[in-house]
C-alpha cells in the first residue's frame, strides 16, 4: 500500500519490506518458514515499541496524515440520511465546515464538522479546514436550530486554526468565535465534541464547548500549534517537537488536566491504518455519551456544562484577602478550585 509513512516509522517499513521479500521467496518454493516467523515477531515487536511510545510531536504528525479519516468520513459512516445545510444567511457558505442533520442510530440530531481535504485540490476547496467568521456563524445557526427543536449536537473538530486573512478580520473572526463560545453555554441540548485530528486554539474552541469532549488517541488540542509556538517562543519553527512536548497537547495530557472527558482508542499506528476501526470506536463513544446526556433536563445540562468550564484553570489562592491583610504573612499553596457552587 502506497501510504505516506513518517521518518520514525522507518524501522517498521524496513521490516515490512523484508517480510514481503521473504513471502515472495516462500511463494517461489524456498523454505523460509523459520525466517518468516522471526521477521513477523520482530515486526510486531517493533510496531508495538514505536506506536506505544509515540512522542507528542509524532502524534501531531499522525493527526495530520492525509489519509486519516476526516469529519465527512465519520459523518457518512455514522449518520443515516445526512443532509447538509449551507450558509450563515449573512455572507456566504463556508466550505471548511460541514453542518447538517442526520440520524445517529435512529436518533435525529445535528452534526457539525471541520472538513479537511484528502489531497491538495480538495484541501484548497476546503481551505484546509480553516474556518472564516461565516463558518462559525453557520455552525451557530445550525446549533440554534438543534436547540429550537431539542436535538442533540455532535461536533467533529479537525482544524489547524481559524483562518488568518483580511476578509476573516473584516468580517469579525474574533467576534464570531467569542459569540459561538458564549452561545454554546446557553444551549439546552446535549453537545458531544469529538476531537478527531487537529484542535488548534480558538479555531477549535469556537465550535468546541461540549458536555462531553472526547478525543482520539493521536489527536492534539492546544492553545497554539507546536510550529506557531516554536516560532514565537523559540524563534525557530524547527523547535516544534520541543514545543509540542511543553504544550501538553496529547489526549493523555488533556485527560489528566481534566480538559477532555475520555480518550477514544485508535488502531495501532493511527486511525489512517484502519479507518473502519476508528469510526467504530467513535460510534461507540458517541452512543455512550448520548446515552448519559439525553436523560438530563435542559437546565441541568447547562448548569453542569457551566460548572465544568468554570473549574478550569490552575492558580494559587492565598488564604483570603482579610487574612492576608491581618497576618501579613500567608503561605501560598496550590489550590484547585472546586466547581462553582452558584447556579449559572
Amino acid at each position: 500500500m502506497a501510504m505516506t509513512t513518517f521518518e520514525f516509522e522507518k524501522p517498521i517499513v524496513d521490516l515490512e519490506a523484508r517480510l514481503a521479500e521473504l513471502r515472495q521467496r516462500e511463494a517461489a518454493g524456498e523454505d523460509v518458514a523459520s525466517e518468516l516467523h522471526v521477521a513477523e515477531m520482530e515486526l510486531q515487536k517493533t510496531r508495538e515499541s514505536i506506536y506505544r511510545n509515540l512522542t507528542p510531536h509524532q502524534r501531531v504528525l499522525i493527526a495530520r496524515h492525509f489519509d486519516r479519516p476526516h469529519s465527512l468520513d465519520y459523518i457518512r459512516a455514522l449518520f443515516e440520511q445526512f443532509t447538509e445545510l449551507h450558509g450563515d444567511r449573512q455572507f456566504r457558505d463556508d466550505p471548511s465546515v460541514v453542518c447538517g442533520f442526520g440520524f445517529f442510530q435512529g436518533r435525529p440530531m445535528a452534526v457539525i464538522g471541520q472538513q479537511k481535504g484528502k489531497d491538495v485540490k480538495e484541501n484548497v476547496a476546503r481551505n484546509f479546514g480553516m474556518m472564516h467568521p461565516e463558518g462559525y456563524r453557520k455552525a451557530l445557526r445550525v446549533m440554534k436550530l438543534a436547540d429550537k427543536f431539542r436535538r442533540p449536537i455532535a461536533i467533529f473538530i479537525d482544524t489547524p486554526g481559524a483562518y488568518p486573512g483580511i476578509g476573516a478580520e473584516e468580517r469579525g473572526q474574533a467576534e464570531a468565535i467569542a459569540r459561538n463560545i458564549m452561545e454554546m453555554f446557553t444551549l439546552n441540548v446535549p453537545i458531544v465534541v469529538l476531537i478527531i485530528g487537529e484542535g488548534a486554539s480558538g479555531g477549535a474552541l469556537g465550535i468546541g464547548v461540549g458536555d462531553r469532549v472526547l478525543m482520539l488517541e493521536n489527536a492534539w488540542y492546544s492553545v497554539i500549534s507546536p510550529e506557531g509556538c516554536a516560532s514565537i517562543l523559540w524563534r525557530d519553527a524547527k523547535m516544534a517537537p520541543v514545543a509540542a512536548a511543553n504544550l501538553k497537547l496529547t489526549a493523555t495530557d488533556l485527560l489528566q488536566l481534566g480538559i477532555i472527558d475520555d480518550i477514544i482508542a485508535e488502531p495501532l499506528g493511527g486511525a489512517h491504518r484502519d479507518p473502519l476501526v476508528a469510526i467504530e470506536n467513535v460510534r461507540v463513544a458517541l452512543e455512550q455519551a448520548l446515552n448519559e446526556l439525553t436523560p438530563l433536563a435542559p437546565d441541568v445540562l447547562r448548569r453542569l456544562r457551566h460548572a465544568k468550564y468554570r473549574a478550569m484553570g490552575k492558580f494559587i489562592e492565598e488564604v483570603s484577602e482579610t487574612a492576608e491583610a491581618a497576618a501579613g504573612d500567608t503561605t501560598p499553596g496550590p489550590t484547585s478550585r472546586p466547581p462553582h457552587s452558584r447556579k449559572p
Binding site: 481559524a162 488568518p164 486573512g165 483580511i166 476573516a168 478580520e169 473584516e170 468580517r171 469579525g172 473572526q173 474574533a174 467576534e175 468565535i177 467569542a178 459569540r179 463560545i181 458564549m182 452561545e183 453555554f185 446557553t186 486554539s201 480558538g202 474552541l205 488540542y221 492546544s222 492553545v223 497554539i224 506557531g228 514565537i232 517562543l233 523559540w234 514545543a243 511543553n246 504544550l247 501538553k248 497537547l249 488536566l257 480538559i259 457551566h306 468550564y309 468554570r310 478550569m312 484553570g313 490552575k314 492558580f315 494559587i316 489562592e317 492565598e318 488564604v319 483570603s320 484577602e321 482579610t322 492576608e324 500567608t330 501560598p332 496550590p334 478550585r337 462553582h340 452558584r342 449559572p344
Partner: protein
C-alpha cells in the same frame, strides 16, 4: 492643556541631543518622532500632544485615570499564577513570572475591583500589557470571571479595559479554556441583564478579543488601537501580500461594524459614565455595604 505651558519656540531641534537626555525626563513619540517632556506626556494621559498617538498605560495608571479619587478597591489580588505545566522555553515559566512581577507595578495581566466612575459605582477590570504581553492565563480568567459573578450578585455594571496579545502560551490549554470560562461568565451577565461595557485598547487581539472583550453590550475602542483575531504578521505570512493601510486599527474595525464608538482617551471616563447611565439606574440608597470576600 499642559503642553501649552512649554515655551512657544520649542521645536524638535530645541530638544537636547540624545546623549544628554536625562534618563526618563523626555519621551520620544514613536509615531511623530517628537521629543516630549515626560511630565507633559503623563499629564496628557500618555497621549502624544503633537500627533495624538495613544500609548499604553499600566493597569494602575488606567485605574487612576478612570476611577474617582479614593474609590478604587481591588479584589482577588491574592490569586497568583503558578507554573502548573512546568513550561520551559528560553526560560522556565516560573522565572518568567517572577521577572514580570518584579518589573513593574503589575501583579498579573489584569486587576479587578470596584470603583466609582463620575459617581457611578461599577466593577472594573483593567488589563496590563507590561505583564507578559497582557496574556490571559488562569489568573486573568479567574479574576475576570469572579468579577462578572460578583456583578450578578451585587447587581453592578461591569467595565472591562482590555489590552492583550492573546492567550498565555506557557499555560497552554489552560489558557485556552479561560476563553470558555470568561465567555460563560458573559452569558451569565447577559442573562442577569447586567450592563457590560468593553473597552479595547492597543493592542487587543487573539484569545482575549475572541472571548470576553468581544462580548460587551457596547464596545468602545481607543483611537489607533490594533484590534483583531490574528496578528498582522501571521496574516501577512499566510496570505503573502501587503496589508492595507490602517488594517485592524480602531477606525477599520469601527467601519466594519465590530466596535460601537472610537473615543479619545481624554473623553473615555465621561463616555463610560454616560453609557452606564443609559442602561443602569443607581440605587437610591448609597449606604449599601458590600462584603469584601467573594
Amino acid at each position: 492643556m499642559a503642553w501649552f505651558r512649554k515655551p512657544q519656540y520649542t521645536t524638535l531641534r530645541a530638544t537636547p541631543p540624545r546623549d544628554v537626555i536625562p534618563e526618563g525626563l523626555w519621551f520620544k513619540c514613536t509615531e511623530c518622532v517628537n521629543f516630549i517632556y515626560r511630565k507633559d506626556f503623563e499629564r496628557n494621559l500618555m497621549v502624544c500632544p503633537k500627533c495624538g498617538a495613544h500609548f499604553k498605560m499600566s493597569a494602575m495608571e488606567r485605574i487612576a485615570m478612570l476611577a474617582d479619587e479614593g474609590t478604587w478597591e481591588e479584589f482577588n489580588a491574592h490569586i497568583r499564577p503558578t507554573d502548573a505545566l512546568k513550561f520551559c522555553d528560553s526560560k522556565p515559566y516560573e522565572k518568567r513570572l517572577k521577572d514580570a512581577m518584579s518589573k513593574g507595578d503589575a501583579n498579573e495581566a489584569v486587576r479587578t475591583g470596584r470603583c466609582k466612575i463620575d459617581g457611578h459605582t461599577v466593577l472594573l477590570s483593567v488589563m496590563d500589557f507590561n505583564f507578559i504581553g497582557g496574556s490571559m492565563g488562569s489568573v486573568v480568567g479567574e479574576r475576570v470571571t469572579r468579577l462578572m459573578e460578583r456583578a450578578c450578585t451585587d447587581r453592578l455594571p461591569v467595565i472591562s479595559v482590555a489590552t492583550s496579545g492573546g492567550a498565555r502560551m506557557q499555560e497552554s490549554i489552560l489558557s485556552l479554556m479561560q476563553m470558555a470560562k470568561t465567555s460563560a461568565a458573559c452569558a451569565m451577565l447577559a442573562r442577569e441583564r447586567i450592563p457590560y461595557i468593553s473597552v479595547l485598547t492597543d493592542p487587543t487581539t487573539a484569545g482575549v478579543m475572541a472571548s470576553f472583550a468581544s462580548l460587551g453590550d457596547v464596545i468602545v475602542a481607543e483611537p489607533g488601537a490594533l484590534i483583531g483575531f490574528a496578528g498582522p504578521r501571521v496574516i501577512q505570512q499566510t496570505i503573502n501580500q501587503i496589508l492595507p493601510r490602517g488594517f485592524q486599527r480602531s477606525d477599520f474595525v469601527l467601519a466594519h461594524g465590530f466596535v460601537d464608538i472610537v473615543v479619545e482617551r481624554k473623553y473615555l471616563k465621561a463616555t463610560l459614565a454616560r453609557l452606564v447611565s443609559f442602561f443602569w439606574d443607581e440605587p437610591k440608597s448609597t449606604a449599601k455595604v458590600v462584603p469584601m470576600a467573594l
